[in-house]
């Protein structure tokens, strides 16, 4: 079996497209939610490639989700193809600002600073009650697509396919980034930052670029979540949301593009079934699943798939 890597991606996208038509509607909704989260997990993984762990991706995740909410509330924009780029743009803008400060730090300092910034946004969202709706959040009406009014099941399906398309685009972009000089250099920064600097590569610019890409991806995840759920609340900026993204990154594995996406899908499924079968102990089930994966698949859920794939490639 000698398939190019792109073919696997095409196959997976085709599978997701079919899934939208054959799976029950609640599962399709869950899948859309998982893909949106998966894109945000990719944003964590991009930073991990450069040796940085962010506990504050909620800043961009929630920032973009609220950007979509405000665009709808203030300007009445309901076009999904406008809302998504606008929200992602805003997240990248936030990333450009935050990155000026944060990208200079490493290790625990980077983690703490990103966490702090996301909690600042959380505080603002909760307290600026008159503007943001406080803890009640903002309702996001059903978006339109190319001016088409959507409702009910059609709207769900359209948002799902939007998530599939955006996820495919994000996965492709991250794949390209990882194979590009900037991506390799980010990896090198993780291994030995001083040596990269001595080789003449601009370390700060490499990290800043990774941070920008990461904020855009987290923003894309946030925008998709907002359109899918139909409601945004400050919980999206809370540190548990950011922590969950790191959790899923570890669960799925950080070495590949598909690992985090698979991790997000598996995580949402485990959580849903834990809710269903163990309403009093679902947190414990999710935690136990995490422990088992760390113990038996230290490379993440995707690592056995990757191994088989490599072996097939020879």
């Amino acid at each position: 079996m000698n398939l190019p890597r792109g073919a696997l991606g095409v196959l997976l996208v085709a599978a997701l497209v079919v899934a939208g038509l054959v799976l029950p509607r609640w599962l399709v909704f869950l899948l859309a939610l998982a893909l949106a989260k998966g894109v945000a997990v990719l944003s964590v993984v991009v930073l991990m490639r450069a040796g940085l762990v962010s506990f504050g991706q909620g800043l961009f995740f929630a920032g973009a989700a609220y950007a979509a909410g405000f665009a709808m509330r203030w300007w009445g924009i309901r076009e999904a193809l406008l809302l998504v780029p606008w929200s992602v743009g805003l997240a990248v803008g936030l990333g450009a600002l935050a990155g000026l400060l944060v990208a200079r730090y490493r290790d625990i300092f980077f983690a703490m600073l990103t966490l702090a910034l996301s909690m600042v946004l959380y505080g603002v969202l909760i307290k600026a009650y008159g503007v943001t709706g406080g803890s009640d959040g903002i309702r996001i009406p059903t978006p339109t697509l190319l001016g088409l009014q959507l409702s009910g099941d059609d709207a769900r399906l359209v948002v799902y396919y939007l998530a599939v398309a955006a996820t495919a685009a994000a996965a492709w972009a991250v794949g390209r980034y990882a194979a590009a000089p900037a991506g390799y250099l980010a990896h090198a920064v993780r291994d030995n930052e001083v040596r990269v600097a001595y080789l003449g590569a601009p370390v700060s610019r490499i990290v800043y670029a990774a941070f920008l890409l990461s904020s855009g991806l987290a923003g894309l995840g946030g925008a998709l979540t907002a359109l899918n759920v139909g409601h945004v609340d400050p919980g999206l900026a809370y540190w548990t949301t950011s922590g969950e993204l790191v959790f899923i990154a570890v669960l799925g594995g950080t070495g590949t593009v598909l690992g985090p996406l698979a991790g997000a899908v598996v995580y949402e499924l485990i959580r849903s079934y834990a809710f269903k079968y163990a309403p009093y102990a679902w947190q414990m089930l999710v935690g136990a699943a995490m422990l088992l994966i760390i113990l038996f698949l230290p490379g993440g859920l995707w690592s056995p798939v990757e191994r088989v794939w490599r072996r097939a490639q020879g």
């Binding site: 029950p24 509607r25 609640w26 599962l27 909704f29 869950l30 939610l33 909760i126 307290k127 009650y129 709706g133 406080g134 803890s135 009640d136 959040g137 309702r139 409702s151 009910g152 979540t225 759920v229 139909g230 409601h231 609340d233 919980g235 999206l236 949301t241 949402e268 959580r271 849903s272 809710f275 269903k276 309403p279 009093y280 679902w282 947190q283």
Partner: protein
């Protein structure tokens, strides 16, 4: 060969039954089910579980098992719903609005519940209401406080069988002016999120309307779950307001009371606890006399002495060794509202099992009895309940109930503390409560 012929006969018979069943189904509406599946969503984990989520779940459990056994007093003495047993499907409200939207879809589409009763958090209510409408699923919200839901949009499948936060705080203002008409200064300490901000704004604006010369000395908004209030207490003690209003709940309320006791905050100012009923059984003698206690309606210690309430208190206390608090009463209102609506629709349908639309039509604008008294679905086009509100003041410790007794209990009827249909709450208060009829 004989076996296979028999097999074909069986298949044929089965097909025949199926076709008939489908035929009957499309012809005469839904078939009477073997059970009515009710999704129940309430906090089973997190900070809101102990004060609200678990008392509500307990109420659901005991009421549903008593209903199924046919042991509830009239008018709910028929078993289950129209003789069909109720089957609860209980899930946790934790995980945020995003998770709850996904869970509501799963309950309706995967678990095939006939209706959902749930939601304590206002953010969850706001997020799930449009989803229930999209799924055409009956949703009865049982405890969330925000007044936004039916004031901003109309619904067909979504109901709320308890009053929203307006009545707590308009009622608190009216009660204060009744027991302390000379009140000149007020202060508030509320959690810094939508519930706290809404509650304080409603109370403050109502006080200003009812007694325009009242001065506000302090408005404090510590963060949710702060748990430590020494700075706030110092500021409140220094300001010496006549009245301190708080909509604190759960652990925050208990912390605030316990930290305020040694500093005698209640001696200088009259404390008003709009959710105070939930801590009466928990704190017992630790609550000083002279504290104004609310229960977000005529619930808990302030519930009316009617047969349904006596029954409810008894079965609940026997099972859980503690009396029901207001979230338990809110849950009872939702369940009895649903039973009432189903049975009304059954009667209108001459005994044939009703569709969701028929049940919704029966609940719209309905009036039904509950342990909290009679509930009327009077607002939001018949989708939002109004109820009265009661307040009382702690007097002395009752060793039999192990709770502080309430005196000067006063009950404000629904039309005194709720805006009339079609008017937003803010506007109603700003215009000086037009149409309010108070005793």
């Amino acid at each position: 060969m004989a076996r296979s012929a028999k097999g074909w006969l069986a298949v044929g018979l089965a097909l025949g039954v199926l076709v008939t069943a489908v035929g009957v189904r499309t012809w005469a509406g839904p078939v009477r089910p073997a059970e009515v599946r009710v999704g129940i969503v309430t906090f089973l984990s997190g900070a809101a579980a102990a004060p609200f989520g678990i008392p509500a779940r307990n109420a659901a459990e005991v009421i549903i098992s008593e209903l199924n056994a046919g042991r509830v007093p009239a008018p709910y003495n028929t078993p289950g719903i129209g003789g069909v047993p109720i089957r609860p499907v209980i899930i946790d409200e934790a995980g945020g609005a995003e998770k709850q939207v996904a869970e509501l879809r799963r309950l309706v589409l995967d678990e095939r519940v006939d209706l959902v009763i749930g939601y304590i958090s206002s953010a969850d209510c706001l997020a799930v209401a449009p989803v229930a409408e999209e799924l055409r699923a009956l949703l009865v919200m049982f405890d969330c406080g925000t007044n936004q839901i039916f004031e901003e949009r109309t619904y067909r499948y979504v109901f709320r069988t308890h009053g929203h936060q307006i009545l707590d705080n308009v009622g608190a203002a009216r009660y204060i002016l009744r027991i302390r008409p000379q009140v000149a200064t007020i202060a508030g300490i509320n959690q810094n999120y939508a519930w706290g901000q809404d509650s304080w704004n409603t109370f403050r604006d109502s006080m200003r309307k009812l007694k325009p010369d009242v001065r506000v000395l302090a408005e404090q908004f510590p963060r949710l779950f702060a748990g430590e209030y020494s700075a706030e207490l110092s500021a409140l003690l220094a300001a010496r307001p006549d009245v301190i209003h708080t909509s604190f709940w759960g652990g925050d309320l208990e912390s605030f009371l316990i930290q305020g006791l040694p500093r005698r905050i209640y001696e200088r100012s009259t404390l008003v606890l709009t959710t105070g009923d939930t801590v009466l059984p928990r704190l017992g003698q630790q609550i000083p006399p002279g504290v104004v206690i609310g229960a977000r309606g005529p619930h808990g210690a302030l519930a009316p002495n009617v047969p349904l309430n006596r029954w409810f208190r008894e079965v609940y206390t026997n099972r859980f060794n503690v009396r029901p608090v207001y979230p338990s009463y809110h849950m009872s209102q939702a369940i009895f509202g649903v039973k009432h609506a189903y049975e009304k629709a059954l009667a209108a349908n001459r005994g044939a099992w009703p569709t969701k639309e028929q049940v919704a039509a029966a609940l719209r604008g309905a009036t039904f009895d509950t342990p909290s008294g009679t509930i009327r679905m009077a607002l939001g086009n018949g989708h939002q309940a109004v109820e009265g509100v009661a307040y009382g003041i702690t007097s002395r410790f009752n060793t039999a109930t192990r709770e502080m007794e309430l005196t000067q209990v006063f009950h404000f009827p629904a039309e005194c503390v709720n805006p009339p249909e079609g008017m937003k709450s803010e506007e109603w208060i700003a215009r000086g409560f037009p149409g309010a009829r108070c005793p």
